[in-house]
Every structure is written in C-alpha cells, then in structure tokens.
C-alpha cells in the first residue's frame, strides 16, 4: 500500500509539526526543518522521533 497524496497532506513531523515529504525511492518521509528521516516499514510510516534517522 503506497503512501497516498491524501495522507501526505495531513502527516506532519511529530517534532516540529511541520511538513514532511516523501523520499525519491518512497522508503521514508523527510522533515527538512528537523533534518530527520522517518522510515516507512511494511508500508507503515514510523513517525516516532526516537526512531527517526538524522540526515
């Protein structure tokens, strides 16, 4: 189940509540403000700050 446009419209970074964008290969969501990558595992975005990878 790919990440839909509708979902991207409502998802936000749990840290700064700002916009997140899908990576080019669709395996994560990036918050440019916090410089964090939230992984997508088994089609489920893991939106947990402690699980995010720093960019």
């Amino acid at each position: 189940m790919p990440i839909s446009e509708e979902l991207l419209k409502i998802l936000a970074c749990p840290k700064c509540k700002g916009e997140v964008v899908l990576t080019a290969n669709q395996d994560g969501l990036v918050c440019h403000a916090c410089k964090l990558l939230y992984p997508i595992e088994d089609d489920i975005p893991v939106m947990i700050i402690e699980e995010a990878k720093p960019l």
């Binding site: 839909s4 509708e6 998802l11 595992e41 893991v46 947990i48 699980e51």
Partner: protein, 256 residues
Amino acid sequence: MRVARIACPRCWQELHDAGRNLRCDGCREVYPVARGIPSLLVGPPATWEELIRTLDWEMQRHPWVVLKMSVAACTWLPRARQRLLRSLPIAAGDLVLDHCTGRGGNLPGLRRAVGASGGIAAFDLSGYGLAHALRTVERAGWQNVRLQQADAHRLPYLSKTFDAVIHFGAWNQLASPERALEEILRVTRPGGWVVLLDEGIEPKLRRTLWGSLLQWANPLFGCDPPIALLQAYGMRPEVRWVVRGMFYEVRFRTPV
C-alpha cells in the same frame, strides 16, 4: 542508612536514603519518596525498542485478557463495540483519526461510517498491532484507511486536521494524558468531535459482585473518566457508561 532490597531500576545498583529521596550509588539518579513510598520510575523508557516490544507483547496477550474478561462478562464485547461505533458522531465524508488503533478493531465500523468519500488515519505505538490492522485493511481493500506508527504524546499530523478523533481502550494507560489531550486538541478541527472510551465501571456498580468480578479480571476497570482533566482544558465533556456499565465514554466538541 542503606536501604535493603531496593535497586535502581535504571542500573540495578544499590540505593541510599538521602532524606526525602533515594539516591543511586551507580548512576546518581534520584528517586523521590512521598508518604514513605519511593517512586522508582525512570523518566523515559530505557529504549523505545524496549517500550514497543513490551506493547507488542501486551497486544499478543490481548486475546487472553479478553478471554479472561469474558469469563466475567460473557461474550458480547465485539457486538457491543459495533453498537458503540454506530453511535459515534461521524458522518459520511468525515476525516477521522482512530487514536491508538491497536489491532484495528474499530476500523470496519469507522470505515462504514465515513464511507468511500471520507478518510481514516489510524496509529499505534505497537508494530504488532499495526501489522494485524494492516491485514484487515488490505483484505478489505480500503484505499482511504491509512496506518502510521506513532506516539500519542507527539502526533504526526497537521493542526486542525480531523473532523473527529476516536480513542477506544488505552487512555487509562497513557504516560501523560495531559500531553495526549493537548495533541488531540491540536489535531482536531474547531467544532470537531472527540470521543474517549476506556475501562471504568459506573460508580454505582463498583461494590457489586459484578463490579468486583470485572476488577478481578482487569484492575483497569477501577479507573475514572478524565472529567477533571477535560474541564481543566476548558472542555465541556458529556460522560456516560456503556456496555452494561463497564466502560466510560466521554465525548465533547472542541471550541469553535
């Protein structure tokens, strides 16, 4: 004075009595003592993996908890859930958040309520629960139900997004209900509905045989609805007890 038989929950070293506190020999963590009872809680979980693993284990254990409850409460809980979902203030086309979805038990009822034109975002901290919920979503082929792994205290949604936020069954166990409520109020649109439902027996039933049996099956049935908390945040909650007085249901609209 050396305190016997109590160890630091962070590093397992001995604790020393330091007046109003207990102090760890090893990591120097300080634990407060109130009315002679030490609070040996460590602030954040040791690791998030550990917390998530614990939750996953709870989720796997959940059917056994339900079975145990069923001994005391017969077998009508699933039907009762469907009845409750039909009574929610949700209309076709609404965008709804299933807050702490667990294994996704609410999703069929919520999907019926919002229809194909609405949408559902559902999150939980437990990957095990979400994997179960994902199977339900994929089997049904719902394109407008999306799952996320997230923490109730730091929601990954834009402000004023949802027409309704529905929470069934984990409120009593949240680390900080205040923080979780602030996040719910942030993501709900003005005038949107919030419904919180969790274990908590109707006060008049607590001392009955029925109430005692329920609390034996699950001590969380002794919890009270978070009325004072909601009022402190300026909400005007309506409370009722549902499913034969076993659960409290609190619903309110966010200010316009």
